[in-house]
Each structure stands twice: as structure tokens, then as C-alpha cells.
């Protein structure tokens, strides 16, 4: 596939977990899924060096440093104006020729037509940011990454890549990193500052961990003093009839015997963005049976724009709003998929999936992303007794450890 000389791009199928520091969590994760034989849409990944090369070539580093200096994360207005400026600078800077050529070639190999933006029949792809650390075990922070759907034509792909990079400087991302850095500092100095207290008591350390490595020892109050790194994943679009997310455990209680599926019509954005009340299915991982279901009010869906390029949000026809969007067969395929993905990674997974309009179950079921479930709630306080008879005794109010402590 990709030319042997490619410096910035690799096919997803040739990535694994070990490539996370260079390609970002999303791309590495997709590569890992493919190597486990799980169906993922074909695609390629840009490494972080492409982003750094771009920043250097465009001479943007000093601007970034200047605008972020002494910015308080609580100053919403200040953050917003700094971010607007940085975003615009990144989006308008030229893509280095070497990177552009590699994107052209890799996109062409996916079946896309080179350069011609409006070309009819150009392969539609999804372009997603693949941040370093962002998909790590320590935090799932929804909405912090960019995704551009239904991008067709190499020029549009290149624009979308730049937009992904620019998202590193969205107000949300900047204030999040700043908080993380200040929480780290508070922890390092042994005090619990205001920003530290913002972290959930139940998830100690969670907000701090995903910040760029090295940010913790940054001395400036502004947080990130060097550009955080970011990779990008480009994948063939799945024309989804239904999509959603599933947890291979109960997301609230952490029950490992449950698979929790949220599903709605069209592309996954409606579910992930909380724009619909999705169908919720609670499935037994052991028997596959539906333990509970709640049919949501699926008012809107995202589908490919009829003109080509991008997606549109449209109302769901009234007769489809309050009906189940998954069949028993599809639910069974999801259970089977959840078991395989979880077995491969050896931990509970948060899986984004889509069911293509074409094809039949289970061949039309694709995984778009899988990451470890973070912030699994702590189990109820562990009983003090650990033996069976000790547990029975405590049912009857016999203190397992006679009061000698």
C-alpha cells in the first residue's frame, strides 16, 4: 500500500498499541483492533511528526507560546479569543509539500481520486484527531477531539487534517490542559487547589493524567508551554443505518457481566453528542439476553449530505422515532463483538460501532473506535469478610473481625 519511503503516514493495519506515542491513541487503537481480526473501516494514520513539521515549517511556535502565556483557565473570554486566533493561524498555514504528497498517495490507495475536490464518486472518509495520551486509561473526556465526516477529495482531506490539528487549541482543550497542569502542580506541592478539587473525588488523578507528558513540570502558569502532539486517522466512511456506543461493562456500576449499548439512527454523532435520547440496551455478556431496554426518542439523525461532502442533521420520520433501532440478530452480533474486543484487550472497553446500510449482520458491523473504559466506579465497599462462611456470618451481623483492633 503506502510507499516504502513514507515518513509521516502508515496504513492502520500496520499499527499496534506500541505506536501510540507516535501516532496517537486513536490510530494505534484502530491498528490494534485490525490486528485482532476485528472489522474496522480501512484507513491510514498521520504521525505526530507531521504536525510538528507543519508547525515548524509554518513558523507558528512563537505565536502559540505568546498567546498562551499567563492565560487563566477560568478567564473564559481570554481563552476564547486566544484560541480563535491560534485556530485561524493553523487553518490558514500551508501544508508542507512532503506531507501533502503522502496524504494524496494514501488517500488514492483508499480509492479516492487525487486532488479533485468535487470529483463525483470520490471515496468519502472520516478524518479524526488521534491525540497523544487522550485515549489513555486515565481519562475519557468526551468532545475533546475533532472528527470530520464524509470528507471527499484529497484537498478536503488535507483541510480536515489541518482542522484536526487546530482543535488542539479549542477553548475546551486549552482550559482542560491548563487545569490538568495546575492540578499536577497542586498535587506535587501537596496541596489541594481549586483546580485539583474540580477533579472528582471518585476519580483521583483522572483530570491530571491525560495532559501532554512533560506539562506537569512546566513552570508557567499558562499550562502547556510546548505544543501538545497530535496524530490524525483517516478512514473510509461507513454509511451507517444505525450506530452507537457500547460499554463492555455496566458504565454506572462497573458490573463486568453486562454490556451496555446505546444506539440511534444514522451516524454516531447523534448519540455521542447527546442530541438524541438513544435506545438503551442492557445485555448479559454471559447469555446474550436483553436484560433491560429503554426505547429512546430518536428525534434526529446524521446522514451523508445529499450533495456529497459532509453530513446533514435531519429529523427522523415520526414512525421511526420510538421504535427499536436494533434487531435481536444485531444485538447478538454486538454481544459477540464486545466479548471479542474485550478479550483481546483484557480490559473493559468503550466501543463506538456502526452498522452499514449495505450488507447483512454481522458482516455490516464495524468498530470505529475502542478504548478502555475509564473511571469505572469503585465497587461497593468491599466486605471485610473474605471467606464464604465469614460472609454468611456477616449477613447475620457477626462482625468478621472481632473487635480487637
Amino acid at each position: 500500500m503506502t510507499a516504502p519511503g513514507a515518513r509521516y503516514i502508515r496504513p492502520l493495519a500496520r499499527l499496534s498499541r506500541a505506536d501510540e506515542p507516535r501516532f496517537g491513541g486513536k490510530s494505534a487503537g484502530l491498528g490494534e483492533l485490525l490486528s485482532a481480526g476485528i472489522q474496522v473501516p480501512a484507513g491510514f494514520a498521520l504521525c505526530t511528526a507531521a504536525f510538528r513539521f507543519f508547525i515548524t515549517e509554518a513558523g507558528l511556535q512563537s505565536l502559540i507560546d505568546k498567546r498562551l502565556a499567563s492565560l487563566s483557565p477560568d478567564d473564559l473570554g481570554g481563552v476564547q479569543s486566544a484560541c480563535a486566533e491560534l485556530t485561524e493561524a493553523i487553518r490558514s498555514a500551508p501544508m508542507p509539500g512532503a506531507v501533502q504528497e503522502e496524504i494524496d498517495r494514501a488517500y488514492g490507495e483508499l480509492g479516492g481520486h487525487s486532488s479533485d475536490a468535487a470529483a463525483a464518486g470520490a471515496t468519502a472518509v472520516a478524518v479524526r484527531s488521534s491525540a497523544i495520551g487522550e485515549d489513555s486509561e486515565s481519562a475519557t473526556f468526551a468532545g475533546q477531539q475533532q472528527t470530520f465526516l464524509w470528507v471527499a477529495g484529497a484537498l478536503n482531506v488535507i483541510d480536515a487534517v489541518r482542522d484536526c490539528w487546530a482543535s488542539l487549541y479549542s477553548p475546551t482543550a486549552v482550559s482542560y490542559r491548563a487545569r490538568a497542569a495546575s492540578a499536577d502542580r497542586a498535587r506535587a506541592s501537596g496541596t489541594v487547589g481549586a483546580a485539583g478539587a474540580a477533579g472528582a473525588p471518585g476519580a483521583p488523578g483522572a483530570p491530571g493524567a491525560p495532559g501532554a507528558p512533560g506539562a506537569a513540570d512546566a513552570s508557567g502558569a499558562s499550562g502547556a508551554t510546548e505544543p501538545p502532539a497530535m496524530g490524525v486517522a483517516v478512514q473510509v466512511m461507513v454509511d451507517a443505518l444505525v450506530s452507537g456506543v457500547m460499554f463492555t461493562c455496566n458504565p454506572v456500576s462497573g458490573d463486568p457481566s453486562t454490556i451496555a449499548v446505546n444506539a440511534s439512527w444514522g451516524l454516531g454523532e447523534a448519540v455521542v453528542g447527546g442530541e438524541v435520547t438513544p435506545d438503551e440496551y442492557r445485555l448479559s455478556k454471559v447469555t446474550g439476553e436483553v436484560l433491560r431496554e429503554r426505547i429512546g426518542d430518536k428525534l434526529v439523525e446524521y446522514v451523508a449530505a445529499p450533495a456529497g461532502g459532509g453530513t446533514i442533521r435531519r429529523d427522523v420520520a415520526p414512525e421511526r422515532r420510538n421504535v427499536r433501532c436494533l434487531s435481536e440478530t444485531e444485538l447478538r452480533a454486538l454481544v459477540e463483538l464486545a466479548r471479542r474486543v474485550e478479550r483481546h484487550f483484557g480490559s473493559h472497553q468503550d466501543i463506538e460501532w456502526a452498522i452499514a446500510r449495505d450488507g447483512s449482520s454481522p458482516a455490516n458491523l464495524f468498530v470505529l473506535q475502542s478504548r478502555p473504559v475509564t473511571a469505572v466506579p469503585k465497587r461497593n465497599q468491599k466486605p471485610r469478610a473474605t471467606t464464604a462462611i465469614g460472609l454468611v456470618m456477616s449477613t447475620f451481623g457477626v462482625d468478621p473481625a472481632p473487635r480487637d483492633t
Partner: protein, 613 residues
Amino acid sequence: MASSTPALGAFPSPFSIQPPPDCAGWEAMYPYYALFDEHRRETDENRFWFWNSMHFPVPMPAFDVICIDSPYQAVGAWQNRVFAVPPAMGIDYRIVNGYVYISGNPVTDPEQIAERAGFFQARAGYYYENWTELYGKWRAKMEALIAELGDLRVPALPEYEPDEVAFGDDRNTAFYEVLDAYGRALRLCDLMWQHHFEFLLLGYGAYGTFVEFCKAHLPDIPDQHIAQMVAGIDVLLFKPDSELRRLARLAIETALDAAFVEGRTPDEIDAELAQSEAGRSWLAELEKVKHPWFNMATGDGLYHYYRSWLDDPSIPYAALIGHVAALKAGEQIERPTAEIERERDRLAQEYGALLDDESRQPFNDLLALSRTVFPYVEEHKFFCDYWFLTKWWNKIREFGALLARHRFLDDGEDVFQLSRHEVASALDELVLSWATGGQPAGPQHWPPIAARRKQILDRLAAWTPPPALGVTPEAVTDPMTIMLWGVTTERVQEWARQQDGGRALNGAAASPGTVEGIARVVRSVDEVADIRDGEILVCGSTSPAWAPIFSKIRATVTDVGGVMSHAAIVCREYGLPAVVGTGSATARITTGQMIRVDGSAGVVTLLVGEEGE
């Protein structure tokens, strides 16, 4: 408990309950000690009483009160005096408008709890260690008890005693025989209840511990799966139906299936079968099956009107008709025991594998212990509640018939309208007047009482009892209350909420925890800035742009979204309770209102009173 301010909770005081119209005097059906009375008001009013609708769903006939007294004597004796369950003595009951309310007596003194723990560990430990052997002896005792009940004769009152009384050695006259038989009947019932509770607490305790263990580690596990892992394969309770299946197959093999027609009564079927040789031998086979397997009760309860299959064979005959039809349609009607066993082991293995290493050993051990105790848990109902009780009520019917023959009752069945002590009194007078030849007062005294009580029971049946009375407990700690009735703190709070008129909104339980606080309804991003520290965010949905506010708020409620929506994920990240997808929170809640968000149950309660203090 609050000692200075005995604040009555959300439930009605037991002393505030009025009888339904035209039920005056209902109290006379019940013993004095079963009523709420002024002498105990101070304590009774400040306790938590819940309606035992599990065992006593309808108003108690006077005689059936023995099935309150005797079980609570027995359960208390074992629990409090034999095993000395550390935090719990026995269970008190009271009757209100015919319905039974119960309340556990806790042990609160730590020294006493510790002392009891010593007894409990030694005695319960002995039972668990020797369970199978002890349970074998128990079954033998129960069968002996049932045989003794079968041998109990209710004598008639003859005009002249037979010659044996005059000429034999050591003969008793009928007056003594009647009183003795009645006394023995009551004692046999007491004995049955004593046996009933010998293993019950420990059996349910072991099984309940396994259930709790599963639910703590696997909160979504269906109860069915837990039961499947524990349940025996070849269980006595399945035996009556499996015998019916066998008889259905025999009917087909001997070409008798034409007799089993939908809509026929048992008598009609028997009559047709009696016509042929094959039919007669089938009936002979049925007769063997009846004892003991037709001692199943037609309902599950402790009331006299639950009869056995022997008394009312319509249920087993309907089952026979169904089994015959299924067999003729080519269905497999025998329980696939090999398959059930495979599935049971697969479930146990798979659930065990999902647990962490630390939990797997106790899981396996608790499962093994549950399987050891489970035969009792499943079988005691057949021996006690079905076999013994249906026969015992019939024995009491014989005394009823005796009283009716002598016009002390209009109908033998009316015996159940008198308490067991009143029946003793009626029998006393009956044998007295039989002996003296004088005129009895009973025929004038008892029939109107029975008639009036039937009328009262009908009226009380139309009354809806509150789920609980007295003070709402802060926490339910009594292990028996939790284990046997499933009355937990959460359940009681839910009852209380329903009582206090608070309105609730239901949504998805998105992030666990419960808080109360002031609502802030936010309809657009512009209003985000208005949020003050410690408020509860109520909005349509949230977006990543709102990230900064999650460090300020205490909980989130949304109109739309599921457990994986942005609001849900962020709230779990921050450890804030969240209920999402309520549908109408922004419409029904106003800024400034006090609300309670229960993110574990997915319930938002609009608290009474618009503002907090």
C-alpha cells in the same frame, strides 16, 4: 432514633388509622395482644411497622391467626433464643383493619451483640457443617409429624359410649377424646412451625449471602441466573408435575388420551376411564401418585382456603390435559435435566471467570454452600406449607363439622371465623352440654358472630392498607427484614416518597450518588454564567463547551441523553450524580426549587417546599 423529638415520619401513625365503614368491632376477631393499644403507644408509635403483604395479603380470618402466632413464636425462638442472631431478636406483629404489620426487635447493646455472636457462630456453624445430615433427620421428623396428623381422629359424640369404654382397660370418654384431639391438633401445628423455622434462617441466610455477593459484584445479574446456578436439578417440588407428565405419557401409551378433553371435569374424566381395563389400571397408578404428590396446594399462602390437589383436582387434571395434548403434538414434555445441568454449570463457570481473583474463591464457596442448603429452601414449602397445612386445615374442618352437626355453627366452614381459643371454648361447651344433656348456649351464641365476621372480612378486603406505619427508619438494619422480606432502606424511602406527595421524574441512572440541592434551570449557553456554586444543573443536554461549570455544580439532570451522553460521562468523571433523559426536567423544575437527584436509581424528586432553608 430521635429521642427528644419523636418526629413522626412520612407514614401514618398506627393510632390514626380508622376502620372502613361498617367494620366496627373488627378487633374482636383478634387477640388483645395483636392490637395497637394505648399502653404500648409510646413505643409502638415510634417504631417502623410494615405490612407483611408477602404472607398475609388479605384480611385475617380469626382462626388463621394461628398462622401468625405460631410462626412468630417459632422464628423468634430459633432466631433469638437458639441461634441468638446478634443484632436481631424476634418479630412483633400487630393487626390493623385485619392486615398484619410487623416490626423486628433489634439488639442494640454492643456487649450483648458480642455475647450473642459467640452463640451464633458456634451454633450456626454446627448447622452449616452438618447440614446434609441434620436436614435428613428433619425430613424424617416432618414425615413422622404428617403421619401423626393423619392418625389424629376427631371423635363423634355418641348417644351412648360403646362397650369398650365400659368394659375395656384405660378407655376415655368422648368428651376427653374431643378436647384432647383438638389440643393435639393445635400442638401439631405449633410443632410444624417449630420445624419449619429450624433451618429457614440459616438456609435463606446462606443463599441470601450468595445472592448479595452476586449482586455486589455483578449488579445486573438477573435473579433468574443466580437461581439457575443454585437450584437443584432433581428437586422434590418438581416431582408432582413430573409425575403428571409420566401419567400423561402412560395415558397415550395405553390409548387413553381421548379421555383427556379440554373442558372436562376430573369426575367426567375418571368416569370415562373407569369404563375400560386400561383406564382402571391408569386410575390405580394415579392413586399411587396422589400420595404424597397431590398434597400440593392450589395457592401459595398460609390461609385456610388454600386447598390441596386432593381436595381440588382441577389443577392437576388441567395439567394432565395439557401434557397429553403436547405429547400428541409431538412435543418433548420431560424436563431436559442434562441440558439444565449443563447450563447451570456453564453459568457458574462464566460468572466465576468474570470476577477478579480475590472474589472467585468466595463466589465458588458460597455457591457450594448455597447448593448444600438449597434442598431445604426449596423443599420445606412442600412439607410444611403444602402437605402439612392443607391436611391440617382439613382436620380443623372436621372440628367445624362436629360443631355444625350440633348447630354451634351454620356451616362447618364457619369454624375459621372463630379464633382457635373461641373454638376451644365452643368445644368445651359442646362436650359439656353433651355430657350433661342440658341446653347449650352455643347455637345462639356463635352463628351470628361468624356471620358478622364474614361480612367484616369482605369489607376489610376492599380497604387498601398503607405499606408501612409509624416512624420511617433512617436505615433498615435487621437482617431478617432485609433477607426474608426484601425490605431495605431504599425500599422504605421509596414508600415514604410516595407517601409524602413528592413528585418524581424518572430518567436513566447515569452517574451514581444522591444529593439534594437547589435547582438551576439552564435553557441556553447564555445562562451558563448564572450558575452558582453548589447548585444542581437542570438542562436540555450539555455540551463540551460547558466543561468549566462541572466543577461548580453538585449534580446534573437533563431532558435528553443516555448513560453515555456527554453529561453522563462528565458527571462520572467528576463524581457527580446524574439523571439523564428525564424528558421534562426543564419544564417541571424551576430555578430555586429544592430537588433530590438519585443518580443510582435514575430518579429526581421535586421536594415539597420551594426553597431550602
